[in-house]
Amino acid sequence: MPSSIYVPDMIDENPNGIFAAHPNRAMLPVIVAPTTDARSAAHNTIRKDFVVVACANLKEYNFAFDSSVVEPRARDGFIALARLLARYPKCPMSLFGHADPTGEETYNKWLSERRARAIYAVMIRDPDIWEQLYRDQQGAPGDNWGLRSLQLMLDGMGFMPGNYDGKMDDRTRDAIRECLGLPPLAPVGNTAAIRKAIFERYMDWLRTDPVGKVTFPGLGPDDFLGGAKQKATLQGCSEFNPQYLLGRVELKGMEAGGDEGKAARNAAFEPDRRVVIYLFAQGTKIDPKKWPCPAAAQGIQGCIDRLWSNGNDRRKKLFENHRRRFGRSVKPERRELVPPNPLVAETLGNEETTFGCRFYHGVAVHSPCERDIKMWVLQLLVDSVKVVKPSGSSKSAEKVPLANRRFAATIGTSPDAPVIRGRTTINGVIGLPYFDDHVAILLKVDAYADLGLAKPPNTSTDSQAEAAERDFVTIKLDAGELKRLRVRGPDDVGYDADFDLEEPPPTEDEVHLAALQRLYNLGYGPDDTGGREFGNWDDKDREAAFSQFQRDHPPLKVTGKLDPDTRRVLFDEYGG
């Protein structure tokens, strides 16, 4: 059956990564053909959907360089992850490790898988998995944990081994004794038993936040898609799915720039090195034998077999002077390839073209953990009762959000239009996926009581709970008529100089129209009845709307025009 696009209603972004929920699901109808006796064998096959409900992108920040050792600063990441998991109990998970394009594919397959495994071990609190990573570097000889990793962990927990020199000196021995509660002079060394005890304590430390009183949920292998055998539970994607690619000239310059250049290159590729965890809908079951991702021990051929037909162009081909990023398109005039190839340039200039693996692309394409999601964000507000202060001054009606109301939004007008159902957030916010620049949205909200209207009798014969939707308050929206409010600045989340500086600032006309649309949405202007909808406002209506807004917002001067102060207050009140 048709798959879905999700809209995040909660995104937590910090240096550890992105932790996002996707609650509102766009559903298409299943279109089928009837048949007759003459063709009674004809049918319609409908396959159940593979549904992602939330994600966490644990960035490289959580790891030591070129290593699967989990850094002490990853603790904040596990706490954020615990908060996300608390919202999605019993949703099976799968972890995808990713490496950057430098280095060899087989090596990176091992490293990315080992990083996913190291995170998985903390999630299920299994020190034996770490012991295997410690003992055997497998296909990633650079990923040698060593005593240094223990010193890092001891230091993180506050036991001060001196430094991370990988030497078993007195200070390190003292730190181990202190950590494990052993008497002074008790014999300690770098043995499997000691390591296991330190790993256990460090994992417990990573999984708890004494200040916020958050504890990581008790998980086992069965909370993951493939169970304990790890196929479908975790995988390394090597460098097949970069999120970010540099321009060719820029990269060449860095690579010729000695150590400094290489450091700059490594910094630029930072978004590519990540472990992304996907949470699937409750009850999702798959057969791990049919799962396409091979373990690193099986080599990379299984990955290569699953690449797009143009997978190597997608993940490797560089524009001369422009970066490529998943979820962002590159303007036609900047899609320069040497030698020129207009067809390939056009394909690669599109939004979703950096992942080489087609299977991963399908899982990740609408994930807020891998891209900026474009969405329509609406906040529903109603007038509260007028407040009269003791001093006698009357405050104009407060706008209060319509929180936690059920809604159903139909995107477009055709019978096969997708429908999104959900609840408004505590701030009355609804996020709807972006479909097109101009689209009609029919929004139904369970809000009769809020608007002081009598709820109509339920005339529906449908026994399903959703039947009540027929009686929801209906709002028609023209998405796409909203104009940009301001240029995105460097402080905005997701700002990318390579992509965003090309955005021209909005014109005065655009700002004026945007202001009027916001006034209209806030309930200013003439009554809707009698054909005086927004599109039919005249100059007098506009002046009256501005004046009323200014009177409601002292100390604004009542000018009836969009002066700079009014503009600031209006856009502040409406929200970015």
């Binding site: 279109i31 089928v32 009837p34 064998a41 479909f435």
Partner: protein
């Protein structure tokens, strides 16, 4: 003579989003056979193969309905029974791994457009049990245009609802069209996009389908080998049939 479908005993019907069965019922035929097998429709029959998957804009010639002469005495009451061949709605339900869903309790409601006004008139809910191959096969009104099927977690009606599908009946386009490929791929669990403009998503779905069904992935839209395979996997084409 060209007339619209309403009250046209004979003529040309431009198919909006419908199927021969509905045209036959609306024109007073008991079965779609006389229409579909009429020599004037030979070209369309060759192009579409399956009379239940026509494209918008297809023109269907409806032959004149031969009046049935019956000789009966006028001094008695006579009962005439009209047998109209019913429509069948057949669904095969699969899990994510493309295995049959097995025995499940289901609840199916179909609805037809209200001839007197706007909206739809829902019919009586039908409760049933899928076969062990996950198959639902149910007689429905030829005019039914939409519906909903609710699938439970097992064969007991008291088990929790596992999945629900909103159905649009009779809107399946031929496999040789972009919309036809998109719809079938969506049903088969290869997400092919929300609109016909979303070609990158359609190419994704085609490549994934090709990969899973032994065709070298090309992502090519409107490729006859691929779209025939899609229609056969979907089940609207019978073994041996081929859409040009």
């Amino acid at each position: 003579m060209e007339e619209t479908i309403d009250g046209a005993p004979a003529g040309t019907v431009e198919v909006g989003k419908q199927h021969v069965l509905r045209v036959a019922s609306e024109s007073g035929f008991r079965t779609p056979k006389p229409i579909w097998d009429h020599p004037d429709n030979a070209e369309l029959k060759q192009a579409r193969v399956n009379p239940n998957t026509l494209a918008p804009g297809d023109r269907l010639i409806v032959p004149a309905l031969e009046p049935l002469a019956v000789s009966k005495p006028t001094d008695a009451m006579h009962k005439f029974v009209l047998n109209v061949s019913p429509a069948l709605l057949t669904l095969k339900l699969q899990d994510y791994d493309r295995q049959a869903l097995g025995k499940r309790c289901y609840r199916l409601v179909t609805a037809q457009h209200d001839p007197t006004g706007h909206g739809v008139v829902p019919g009586t809910p039908i409760f049933g049990e899928t076969t062990k191959d996950g198959e639902v096969s149910q007689e429905i009104q030829p005019f039914a245009s939409e519906g909903e099927i609710v699938i439970h977690a097992d064969e007991h009606p008291s088990s929790p609802v596992e999945v629900k599908f909103r159905l649009l009946i009779g809107y399946l386009h031929p496999a040789s069209t972009v919309a036809g490929q998109q719809t079938r791929l969506n049903n088969l669990g290869y997400f092919a996009g929300f609109s016909e403009d979303d070609l990158p998503q359609l190419r994704w779905a085609i490549e994934e389908f090709q990969h899973d069904h032994g065709i070298k992935p090309t992502g090519k839209i409107n490729d006859p080998k691929t779209y025939n395979k899609i229609a056969h996997e979907h089940g609207d084409l019978l073994p041996g049939e081929k859409v040009p």
